[in-house]
Symmetry: none
Subunit: 316 residues, 2 copies
DNA sequence: TGATAATCATAAGCATAGATTATGCTATAA
DNA sequence: TTATAGCATAATCTATGCTTATGATTATCA
C-alpha cells in the first residue's frame, strides 16, 4: 500500500484491529497467526505497526503471556465495537442486496395511480419489507421528478421527450364514454359521435394530450362538444355523472368498479377509439435500485401471466 | 498491501470508507481527491474497489453529480459511525498517553514543598513516566501562576480569594515553637506566652498571614515580641536557632527531622495554637490533565490510608 | 453548432506495506 | 547444560494503491 505519510493523519485500519484483537483474545502472537492464516512474524509486525501509530505499546512485552497494557485494554473495547459495526454494515448492505430492505419512490398522476394498485399489491406481497412511496404528480411534472432524482419510477400515458428517460408500455387503456343509468342512451349497444352533440360533457380541468385528441375528433366530425362543467378530480366527475347531471369521457380503468356496480353505464362510441398506453418511465443508464428492478419484474410477470390489458413493451 | 485473498473475508477498511464518505460529501470524485490530497484516479479506483468488495454500486454513475445509490446511502450512515468511533478510540488512547507521558507543573512555596515530598514519592511510584516540575513561588504569587496557566496545581496555606480557584484541604500543620537544645526552656513540657517576652525570635522576612496572627496574639497578651533577626529562608532560620542564637516559630512540617534528631527542641505553647491548613489549589472548571487528576487521587488516598495530618476536604 | 473545459474512467509504471522464509534471542522445561 | 517454545529481526518478494498520461463523455459558451 502506498499512502502519503504527510496527509494520512489517522490510521488504525480494521485489518490491523482484527489482528490485534485476535492476539489479545488468544493471548499469543503465534496462536493468533494460526487463526488468521498468516505467519507469526506477519502478526508481530502488524501489531508493532499499530503500536507505532498509536505511539503506545499495547502488550506488555516483558512477559510472554500477551498481557495487555492499559492502552491495549482501551483499544480492545473500541476495536471490538468497530468490528461489530462493520459487521452490521455488511449485514445491512447484504439485506439490501437480498431485497429485505429499501425504498421505492414512484410518481404517478390521478389516473395512472389506479394501474399501480394491483401491481403494487403483488409487489408488496413479494417484498413486504420494502417501503413504497407513491407520489401524486401532474403528468407534466413527472419527467422533472425523475430527472431530479426525486423518484425512481414514473407512470405516464405518453412517451417522455427527454432522451435520458426510458419507458416501457405496461398497460393498454382507453377513454370510456359513460352516462348515468337513467340516461336515454344507457340502453344503447353502441353510439356514434353525432349522437353526442346534444350531451352535456363534464370535463377534467387538467391539461392532457387526450383532451386535445377528443376535441379534434369532434371538430373533424363537425359535432359540437358542450363542456359546461369542469371539475378537478376524477372522483368528482364520476359522482357528478352518476347523479344524472351529464356524461363524460373517462379512462376506462377509472370507472371499472362503477360500471360493474351499475352506478355508471359505459357505451362504446364507434369513432372514438382513444387508446391510452400507460408507461413505466425511468432514467436510462441509471443504476436502478433493486426495489425498482423488482417492480419492473412484477410488471413484466403481470403482462406474461394476466395478459389482456397488461403489456410489457420497452420503447426504443 | 498484500493480503491473502482466500482468508480475508471482510474488507471495507477505514481508509476506503473515508474516501467514500468524502466523495459522497463533496458530490464529486475530483473535489474529494483535492480534499484528500490525492489524485482523482486514486479516488476513483478506491471507490471502485470498495464497490467491488461490497458487490454493489455506491454511486449512480449515470449522472455526474455523485448521487448515491440506496446501498450508498446505507453505507454512508455506517461509514460515518465507524469513523466517529475511530475518532473516539484515538482520543481515548491519546488521553491515556498524556497520562504516561504527561507533565505536571506544581507551584509551592518553601514550606509547603515539604508536604509535597511524600505525596510526590507515591505519585512517582505510580506514574514514573510523568515529569513533575515543582516550581517554587511565593505564596502571594501562586494564585497568579495558576491563573496564567503556568502551573496546574498550587499549594497554599490559605484559601485563595479568586473564585475561579478551587481548593482542597490536604494537610493540617501548625506553627511549632522551637528552641536550641541547650536553651533554658528546652526541658520544659509546656510554656506560656508570657514566658517568651525575653526571647530573641528569628523571623522569616516573607509576608505571611500567620506572621500577622502571631504578632496579634502577642500584642493581645501584652507580651513584647523581640524580632531582632530576619532571615530569608527556613533553612537559615533553623541553622541559626540550632546554633543557639535565638528561638523561632516554624511550621511543624519543616522541623520534623531536626526535632527527631535533637538538633532543635519543640515546646508546646499553651496559648499559641496556630493551626495551618495546606491546600491543593487548581482552576475550577479547568479540565485537569490526567496527571493532575492522578495527583489529587494520590493525595486522597493519603488522607484515607495514612490519616493523621493528611486530609482531603474540598472547600466550597 | 463546434470548440473548450470539466469530470470520470482506463492504462502503464512505480513505490511501499505487508507477506514470506530464515534466523536470532530469551525464558522455561527437562 | 541442552532443548523447546515464543517473539523479534532481517532479507526478500509481491500485490495494492499511488502516480502520470490519456481517452471518453458531458456541460458550457461563443
Amino acid at each position: 500500500m502506498y499512502r502519503s505519510k504527510l496527509h494520512q493523519v489517522y490510521a488504525m485500519d480494521l485489518f490491523q484491529l482484527e489482528t490485534f484483537l485476535t492476539v489479545a483474545r488468544e493471548g499469543s502472537f503465534s496462536r493468533a497467526a494460526k487463526k488468521l492464516f498468516r505467519t507469526q512474524p506477519a502478526v508481530s509486525q502488524m501489531v508493532r505497526k499499530l503500536e507505532d501509530e498509536i505511539g503506545e505499546p499495547l502488550f506488555d512485552r516483558s512477559s510472554r503471556d500477551g498481557i495487555l497494557t492499559d492502552a491495549g485494554r482501551v483499544l480492545q473495547d473500541y476495536a471490538q465495537k468497530l468490528l461489530n459495526m462493520r459487521g452490521e454494515a455488511l449485514l445491512a448492505l447484504d439485506e439490501l442486496k437480498q431485497m429485505h430492505k429499501g425504498k421505492l419512490a414512484v410518481a404517478a398522476n390521478e389516473f395512472t395511480c389506479l394501474y399501480l394498485l394491483p401491481v403494487l399489491d403483488e409487489f408488496r406481497r413479494l417484498y413486504p419489507m420494502i417501503k413504497v412511496a407513491v407520489q401524486r404528480s401532474l403528468a407534466s411534472r413527472i419527467s422533472d421528478e425523475l430527472l431530479s432524482h426525486n423518484v425512481e419510477l414514473g407512470v405516464l400515458t405518453f412517451r417522455p421527450e427527454d432522451p435520458v428517460l426510458k419507458s416501457i408500455v405496461v398497460y393498454r387503456d382507453e377513454l370510456a364514454f359513460v352516462v348515468p343509468p337513467r340516461h336515454p342512451l344507457a340502453s344503447a349497444q353502441r353510439v356514434r359521435i353525432r349522437q353526442l352533440g346534444a350531451e352535456c360533457f363534464v370535463a377534467h380541468n387538467v391539461p392532457s394530450p387526450y383532451r386535445q385528441k377528443v376535441l379534434e375528433t369532434f371538430r373533424k366530425r363537425k359535432v359540437p362538444l358542450n363542456m359546461p362543467v369542469e371539475l378537478p378530480t376524477i372522483e368528482a366527475i364520476k359522482k357528478f355523472v352518476a347523479s344524472g347531471n351529464g356524461v363524460a369521457l373517462i379512462p376506462a380503468i377509472c370507472v371499472e368498479t362503477e360500471v360493474s356496480r351499475g352506478d355508471l353505464v359505459r357505451i362504446p362510441v364507434s369513432e372514438l377509439a382513444l387508446e391510452r398506453k400507460l408507461r413505466l418511465v425511468y432514467r436510462k443508464n441509471a443504476s436502478l435500485s433493486h426495489a425498482a428492478r423488482a417492480f419492473l419484474k412484477v410488471a413484466e410477470t403481470f403482462a406474461n401471466q394476466k395478459g389482456g390489458r397488461y403489456l410489457f413493451q420497452p420503447e426504443r
